[in-house]
């Protein structure tokens, strides 16, 4: 048995104490845990591979409106997913209830994040060390990378410009002093300054960018892309919204600086036209025209094909079929989500194939009765019957862009084309849903443009090879036509020529046709309508109705769909013996009914700067009406 005397005790205690003290003393560095694993900005811009990833991040931020709800925010379509956030966003725009704290597509902060990333890249890319063995390669690419980043930065500024008009212009990445967070105030630059910046940048980088990219690098910015952006920026700047718009006469910074110029300047149109012509004159783009004898296909195929003849710039997208699932009609056999219903207003905007608007005398438009004939199912012509006369002899782009009652769509699984019906019995004769199911109800039309007939949704074979078209030559033609029409008192031959080039692809008769086509105002209508149908569902209309300042009319009225959900009384009154039958449904179907009474006010032309930004930065003034 161990027993210790005091002496031994002292030894033990000294030992313990010294262990205790030693451990304590040896701990000076104990808390220096340095996480090497973190990647800092130094690491990124010391490594060309990471720097290239930083550039890829900028491309990733490139606006992609594939399948975007924006089509339902204006007079193109109606979004009827009542249980879905997307539909709610549409509600907000359509009923004018979006606000300074609730703007589904404002993306103010997000864009400035993109701009900060671009600024950092632009500032640092040239100092990235390059391995000696690759210096030849990067001698070419580093200047291009910088030019690409500058291109992307002005794209981001253009996105802000079309939303907010005058915005703060930051061309370097500001470092924040976190102890002086309140000192980070910025002010808005004027519209002129923003436009000048975009244009100057485009002019400058166009020199550094190649006219085309090698196959594996396609998708990078080109000279054409920079010039096309310049042209679009200038047509926006020349448009009524920004060209002497008196609504905005009082919008100025706290120091009195006017943010919106108040004098109309006709020369702005000329600058836009010249810029468009610069692109046209590059001579390397032509309208995509793979099937000249089939106008429907000649137009439609561009939107499920990776086209690089007409496309000046596109967001490269992987092969995917998500959009097809979202947009295909709701019923069997597609079981798509039928996300958007094109409005009757858009359907009516398609001219007759004789070049007459439908309500123009001589158009031969009928909204009663039925016809038989052939419709294109995406792969073949199919014999059809019982088609409403509403859909007879229309602009071929109508057939390429919109599904309607008893339209056909290629579908391998059933060995027959699908005969679409928004009121049908579903028992083999027609497809689509007989009974409107709450929440995903169809209303008589679906979007067809962008859908790929090569994709079989039921067998899940085939895929859609779509890029998102950002700039295509048709837009340059229409910009030129529009700008020259506005620049001159009376349209001249080039105005007709460039709009007719777009029409010619789908065999629409050349203008002028009506007497009014020989006036500036008449042609303005024609050009605006041409834009509307040519670029339907391409995310142009929402912005166009704003820059033309026609939204107060077109987005401020009841909009219509077809009578796909008749009341029992209506069905009973149809005279068909079985009121629940397809016949009864079809009998009451072709009647436009109001789906929404849309609201648009003057203040909606430009978006409000988010309230939280106004709240935190007294230097930021708000847009008109907000």
């Amino acid at each position: 048995m161990l027993l210790y005397n005091d002496k031994e005790m002292k030894k033990i205690s000294l030992l313990l104490l010294s262990v205790f003290l030693l451990t304590t003393i040896s701990c000076n560095k104990y808390l220096d845990v340095v996480p090497d694993e973190y990647v800092t900005d130094e690491d990124v811009f010391k490594n060309i591979n990471l720097a290239e990833q930083a550039l890829a991040r900028l491309y990733n931020a490139f606006p992609d409106e594939t399948g975007s709800n924006i089509t339902a925010f204006t007079d193109e379509s109606y979004h009827h997913w009542t249980d879905n956030g997307g539909a709610l966003d549409a509600y907000k725009f359509n009923l004018g209830t979006w606000s300074t704290v609730d703007n589904p597509i404002g993306n103010w902060g997000g864009r400035y994040q993109d701009i900060r990333r671009a600024n950092i890249f632009i500032e640092r890319i040239e100092s990235v060390p390059i391995p000696l063995d690759r210096s030849d390669y990067y001698q070419t690419w580093i200047p291009r990378y910088k030019a690409e980043a500058r291109f992307l930065r002005v794209i981001f500024y253009f996105e802000l410009f079309k939303r907010f008009g005058a915005v703060p212009l930051l061309t370097s990445a500001v470092s924040t002093d976190l102890n002086e967070a309140a000192g980070n105030n910025v002010e808005r630059n004027s519209v002129e300054e923003i436009v000048d910046f975009i244009v100057a940048e485009c002019d400058d980088i166009a020199q550094s960018l190649p006219t085309s990219q090698e196959a594996s690098q396609v998708g990078r910015a080109t000279r054409g892309a920079a010039l096309a952006l310049k042209s679009r920026t200038l047509i926006y700047a020349a448009s009524p919204l920004f060209n002497g718009n008196a609504l905005y006469k009082d919008i100025s910074n706290k120091d009195g600086k006017k943010l919106f110029s108040q004098s109309y300047d006709k020369e702005k149109w000329k600058r836009a036209a010249d810029a468009a012509m610069d692109v046209i004159n590059m001579g390397i783009y032509s309208l995509y025209s793979p099937s000249p004898n089939n106008s429907v296909q000649n137009y439609a195929s561009q939107f499920y094909t990776r086209d690089y003849t007409e496309s000046i710039f596109q967001r490269i997208k992987g092969n995917d079929t998500g959009l097809d699932g979202q947009w295909l009609p709701n019923g069997p056999p597609f079981k798509g989500n039928g996300q958007f219903t094109p409005l009757q207003e858009l359907v009516d905007a398609y001219e007759m194939n004789n070049g007459y608007p439908i309500n123009e005398p001589g158009s031969n438009y009928q909204n009663t009765g039925f016809w038989s004939g052939q419709l294109w199912d995406g792969l073949k012509w199919q014999n059809v019957s019982d088609i409403s006369n509403m859909y007879k002899d229309r602009d071929p782009r109508f057939y390429a862009s919109i599904f309607f009652q008893y339209d056909v769509w290629r579908f391998d699984a059933t060995k027959r084309p699908i005969k679409l019906a928004f009121w049908g019995d579903g028992n083999g004769r027609t497809d689509g849903w007989a009974n409107g199911k709450a929440g995903t109800s169809p209303w008589g039309y679906n979007i067809r443009k962008f859908l790929s007939p090569e994709y079989d949704r039921n067998a899940n074979t085939g895929t859609a090879k779509r890029n998102w078209p950002v700039f295509r030559l048709a837009e340059m033609y229409l910009i030129y036509a529009e700008a020259m029409n506005e620049y001159q008192d009376v349209p001249d031959a080039p105005v007709y020529d460039y709009i007719n080039r777009v029409r010619e692809r789908v065999k629409m008769p050349p203008l002028p046709i009506l007497a009014s086509d020989r006036t500036r105002e008449g042609m303005r209508q024609r050009i605006q309508n041409e834009n509307r149908v040519e670029f339907a569902f391409e995310a142009h209309r929402f912005w166009d109705v704003r820059r033309w300042m026609i939204a107060l009319t077109v987005d401020n009225r009841p909009v219509h769909v077809l009578n796909a959900k008749p009341s029992a009384a209506e069905l009973d009154a149809s005279g068909v013996s079985d009121p629940n039958s397809e016949e009864a449904g079809a009998a009451v179907f072709y009647k436009p009914v109001v789906i929404q009474d849309r609201v648009f006010q003057d203040k909606h032309y430009l978006m409000p700067i988010p309230q939280s930004e106004i709240d935190k930065d007294p230097g930021l003034v708000q847009n008109y009406g907000w």
Binding site: L31, V44, A56, D102, S216, D615
Partner: protein
């Protein structure tokens, strides 16, 4: 009495001493001794001899004179001879009892004499109680004149000792006046100890040590083992509810293995991490896996005086758990076995098919949709079972009834043994707990899907006095948990139970296959029974080794202590997922032969159990060293001091996808200290401080200093109150200090980092999207080098009262906390700067104030013992600053709100008619508005109802007050204990798919049936029925905000202790049978689901438990 190790109690405690035969004693005495004894005391000499011979030697103080000095050189001599040489000259002799040599005076030489003395002994039993008659455990019972001998009372205050019939027994316990009692040949003694309030020496657990109760200046409360084991729950956290003032407990789930409560102390002092620090035996640890049987006390530390020593960790309060330790005595064995029946407290009720579809039809008509399908004839088919096909074509499935058992079982058995000799004490405990789940069809497949927890707790706490100054503690614990669950996780499955419409599927198809429809929700039966299972194995090991060295040779009262703790956890989660086939069954509804139906395969399963394994481990090591000082000078000046140095590192388990940063250890280091000075038991001053830090902040901002000062005045020890019968205790306490908390920051928040290789943020070029592909790289976190911990300035004023000889006790505390530097996103930085993740800044400020009261009363009237205890705590906070912009509409700002304040619109009721809609601000942004829809307040008065009208509503989603109320009563061998517990001032959202009618293809709560708006029922609880999500009505608004106040019969226990007489014959010390109920009844206004669930409908419900148990002690 002095003794060599482990011999001490042989003579006096072990009564059945048999004397060794002389041959045996010869053998002992013939052991060889070699020792060079120079100038050593006789005592030391004996110890050396004992060691050398390997024989135990026992002696008494009275026998040995301290002054005797020995000089002897023993060289391989027989023990007997050596002892004779040593002892004879000084009038001593020895005797051998068993294998122990006992030193006696020469006049007690004969064995006969000793035998006679022993024979004079008799067994005396008795009970020691406090002044109210409640049995006192752990009272030391000593024989006068025989220091060091004795026993301690058991849990019920009973003791048993063998003494001379004329002996005098001394009963001693901290906090009570020591009492002497002559045995007087009696065999049963009843001893009632008086509270020693004047010198209340009771020791309580405080941060990093213990302290005399009188000297406590801070705010703390504790609950002891007797209370804790009354509530036999699977998680210790659930037994604390209602027992500790200032503690907020919220239990959100009842799923076996994850049913612990969230604990908060004094409400919410910050809008970031609010969890208190938890220490088990002084080491940071988790509370929920500990077995209540192992726990001695649970203490909550609330104010700065109590928590400052935790420095950067203590601002949210601290919970201390101490485990039991052995006491000197024979092995005390306690075996408790209990069996419980658990059933859900409340499961939300949903309508049957007929009623639900009737309302659905109403919704379609309201929405202006085609309801032609839903004719009365059609709806009736969901009730009609006249044709066998109807069950499958027109199902009416009550999913909860079909898939859940009404109750499940839990049983647990604990065996613990404690005891020890004066220099080695032990407590060992083993518990097995099996908690079953509610799922039916557990054995349907060849594997088990039942939610099951098997938990094994092992603990061994050993204390060894190595020498009279050096003590060793060794705590070893292990918790093994094996859990089993269906592969479908509980949140998803319980959601399916609620939202899957009863009309959608029959449980199975006629052939037993799983029904499914295209583009429809899954069949919950399939998910429960066919989707595979999960087994989770987990082992949590903890070891603490500590040395405590008293250093009276340096100065009296000084000691040092060093402890090393190691915690290791490992887990191995096995997921056996199975893809199963589903079928759509179709048949003509008029067919009577079900076999004529057809099956269409909707999904193809391979029926194979897949195998996925996740295994990982974590380990934490802590070193702490203490210097303690505790001394009283001149009887009036009492000083205690403590300095503790610690460092710890914690390697946490990291998933495969986490960066290396997650694998870096979490380190802490610090020096903390306390000085307490008490003058004459009347005036107490204490200073506490923590100086500690973590690796998470930048060098230079890592360490923080947190001081707290506190004072107490024990008025009742003043001369004018001393001896007062009315005021047994009057004490005022006050404290002020700062404490920190660092638990809300991410790792290394001072470093700016970039994210690389993000494929979702990259880009692929190429003519066919097949060219050069780059992942994305971007700035992720903008670091803030200024970041540091949150700081809390806490003030506390308290009073302790004991009235009428402590029959009535009262403790009250008022506190105020001012929390600053709360980590907050710098929302004031303009978005134009383009920083994606706004850096955090130490900017937030929250004030929190409140009070706690605890009232106790106890009384004994003859055989009736009664007590009552009530506590109530209230805390309210206000966010003073949150680094946000100056909002145009102040109701959108966090500033001025409370932590957990609800955000939403303010509802003004339901629209009465179209005119009401037309005359109100437009709600068109939420879709088409009809009468019966919710009407909102235009809070910003712009004529439009939209998100801008949303803001803070003023009510919080957590309770503000907690209350507990305990009643105890015992009469002879029957005891009764009832605990009511409640929470007030909180609100719940009744929102989401589970609450909103037909939202996202779900069904409808039963409560809607008679309580929804119709033109005839204008004052309805629910809005008009919609057939799908109604954007207007399905907004978070005050309409859906319901009070979650509740009062619960949390615990009720009745026990019966079998008469002693019966037990003695069985050789048992005590047997008690008891029945317990938990969550027996809840009074609340909420009614839909359990009001305690904090966020939405929850998943697995809390359980109502009825428990039967048996406790046997030997």
């Amino acid at each position: 009495m002095r003794y060599s190790v482990s011999v001490g109690c042989i003579i006096f405690c072990f009564c059945s001493l048999a004397f060794a035969s002389s041959s045996f004693s010869q053998k002992v005495l013939s052991h060889k001794v070699t020792a060079d004894l120079k100038n050593v005391s006789l005592e030391n000499a004996l110890e050396i001899i004992s060691a050398s011979a390997g024989v135990k030697i026992a002696y008494s103080d009275q026998v040995l004179k301290k002054t005797t000095v020995v000089n002897k050189d023993l060289n391989n001599e027989n023990l007997g001879e050596a002892l004779s040489k040593l002892l004879s000259p000084i009038g001593l002799s020895y005797s051998v009892v068993e294998d122990v040599v006992v030193i006696v005076r020469q006049n007690q030489l004969s064995n006969d004499l000793i035998l006679k003395e022993l024979a004079a002994e008799q067994e005396v039993r008795g009970i020691v109680t406090d002044s109210t008659g409640v049995g006192l455990p752990g009272v030391s019972v000593m024989v006068k004149g025989k220091t060091g001998s004795g026993v301690a009372t058991d849990q019920n205050g009973n003791f048993r000792i063998r003494v001379d019939g004329k002996a005098i027994l001394i009963f001693r316990m901290l906090g009570f006046i020591t009492q002497e009692l002559s045995v007087n040949e009696r065999s049963f003694l009843t001893v009632r100890l008086k509270d020693d309030v004047a010198a209340l020496n009771e020791v309580v657990v405080v941060g990093y040590g213990t302290q005399k109760k009188t000297n406590i200046t801070g705010a703390l409360n504790s609950v002891n083992t007797a209370e804790l084991i009354r509530t036999p729950t699977a998680s210790l956290t659930n037994t604390l509810a209602g027992r500790l003032p200032g503690l907020v407990s919220i239990q959100g789930s009842g799923e076996p293995g994850s049913d612990g409560s969230a604990l908060y102390i004094r409400g919410f002092g910050s809008y970031n991490g609010q969890s208190p620090l938890v220490l088990v035996d002084g080491i940071e640890n988790a509370i929920d896996r500990i077995d209540a049987n192992e726990v001695e006390t649970v203490t909550v530390l609330k104010d700065a005086a109590a928590t400052a020593v935790y420095g950067m960790k203590g601002a949210n309060g601290v919970i201390l758990v101490t485990t039991k330790r052995g006491k000197v005595g024979k092995p005390a064995v306690s075996l408790t076995s209990q069996m419980s029946v658990q059933r859900p407290t409340r499961i939300p009720e949903y309508l049957d098919s007929y009623n639900a579809l009737s309302l659905y039809r109403e919704g379609l008509i309201n929405d202006g949709l085609n309801a032609n399908l839903y004719t009365d004839e059609y709806l009736n088919k969901f009730k009609d079972r006249s044709n066998p096909t109807y069950e499958y074509l027109y199902p009416n499935t009550n999913w909860q009834e079909e898939l859940l058992k009404p109750s499940s079982l839990m049983h647990q058995t604990n065996l613990n043994v404690s005891g020890g000799t004066p220099n080695t004490r032990y407590f060992v405990s083993m518990t097995y707990l099996n908690q079953g789940g509610l799922y039916k069809f557990e054995d349907l497949s060849d594997y088990n899907i039942q939610a099951t927890l098997n938990k094994y707790n092992f603990r061994s706490n050993v204390d060894i006095d190595i020498t009279k100054h050096l003590a060793l503690e060794l705590n070893l614990s292990d918790v093994v948990r094996d859990r089993n669950y269906p592969n479908e996780n509980a949140d998803a499955f319980w959601n399916q139970l609620r939202v899957t419409p009863p009309w959608l599927y029959s449980v199975t198809n006629p052939d037993g296959s799983i029904p499914q429809k295209r583009d429809a929700p899954v069949n919950p039966y399939g998910r429960l029974t066919q989707f595979g299972y999960k087994r989770l194995f987990e082992n949590t090991m903890g070891a603490i080794v500590g040395f405590n060295l008293k250093m009276p040779f340096v100065t009296e009262g000084l000691s040092v202590r060093a402890r090393f703790a190691f915690d290791a956890q490992s887990y191995r989660d096995i997921t056996r997922k199975r893809n199963y086939s589903t079928y759509r069954f179709t048949i003509d509804e008029n067919e009577t032969d079900l076999s004529k139906g057809t099956y269409e395969e909707m999904s193809t399963g391979d029926q194979q159990l897949e195998f996925a394994l996740a295994a990982n481990g974590s380990r934490k090591s802590t070193f702490e060293g203490y210097i303690n000082y505790d001394r009283t000078f001149k009887a009036k000046h009492s000083v205690t001091g403590m300095i503790r140095y610690n460092q710890s590192q914690d390697f946490r388990g990291t998933g495969d996808n986490e960066s290396g940063v997650a694998a870096l250890p979490y380190k802490q280091m610090g020096i903390v200290g306390r000085v307490n000075y008490t003058y004459d038991g009347r005036y107490v001053a204490e200073f506490d401080a923590g100086y500690n830090g973590s690796e998470n902040f930048i060098s230079g901002r890592r360490m923080g200093f947190f001081p707290a000062g506190s004072l107490a005045w024990v008025v009742s020890n003043e001369s004018f109150l001393k001896g007062s019968r009315t005021f047994s205790l009057v004490k005022f306490r006050g404290s002020f200090g700062t404490v920190g908390v660092d638990n809300s920051s991410n790792r290394f928040p001072y470093i700016s980092t970039w994210e690389t290789g993000n494929n979702d943020r990259g880009y692929q070029f190429g003519i066919d999207a097949d060219g050069n592909k780059y992942a994305g790289t971007q700035e992720r976190i903008v670091g803030n080098e200024f970041l540091t911990w949150e700081r809390a300035r806490k003030t506390n004023i308290g009073i302790d009262l004991g009235l009428f000889n402590n029959t009535l006790t009262f403790t009250g505390d008022v506190f105020q906390e001012h929390r600053t530097r709360i980590l907050t996103s710098a929302l004031t930085i303009s978005d134009v700067l383009g920083i994606e993740n706004l850096p955090m800044v130490n900017a937030g400020i929250v004030d929190n104030k409140g009070f706690e009261v605890e009232l106790g009363w106890r009384k004994v009237i003859k055989n009736h013992q009664m007590f009552l205890r009530a506590n109530y705590s209230y805390a309210r906070n206000e966010i003073k600053y949150a680094a946000e912009p100056e909002y145009t509409y102040p109701f959108q700002a966090l500033k001025g709100t409370q932590v957990y304040e609800a955000q939403g619109l303010i509802a003004l009721g339901l629209f009465k008619d179209q005119a009401d809609i037309d005359n109100s601000p437009s709600q068109a942004g939420y879709g088409k508005i009809l009468p019966g829809d919710i009407k909102y307040m235009d809070r910003n008065e712009d004529g439009l109802i939209n998100a801008q009208d949303g803001g803070y509503i003023g009510e919080t989603l957590r309770p503000k007050s907690m209350l507990g109320f305990t009643l105890g009563y015992s009469f002879k061998s029957i005891d009764l204990n009832v605990l009511f517990q409640g929470a007030l001032g909180g609100y719940n959202w009744l929102t989401g798919t589970s609450a909103w009618a037909f939202s996202r293809n779900s069904t409808i709560l039963a409560d809607y049936l008679d309580n929804h708006w119709t033109p005839e029922n204008l004052d309805a609880t629910y809005p008009r029925i919609s057939s799908a999500d109604n954007v207007n009505n399905n907004q978070n608004s005050t309409f859906w905000l319901r009070s979650s106040d509740y009062l619960r019969l949390k615990n009720a226990e009745i026990g019966y202790t079998l008469p002693k007489a019966l037990l003695t014959s069985l050789g048992l010390k005590g047997v008690r049978i008891f029945a317990t109920g938990i969550n027996l009844y809840t009074w609340d206004k909420f009614k839909i689901y359990d009001p305690e669930i904090p966020d939405g409908f929850g998943s697995y419900p809390q359980q109502k438990v009825v428990n039967f148990g048996l406790n046997v002690t030997l």
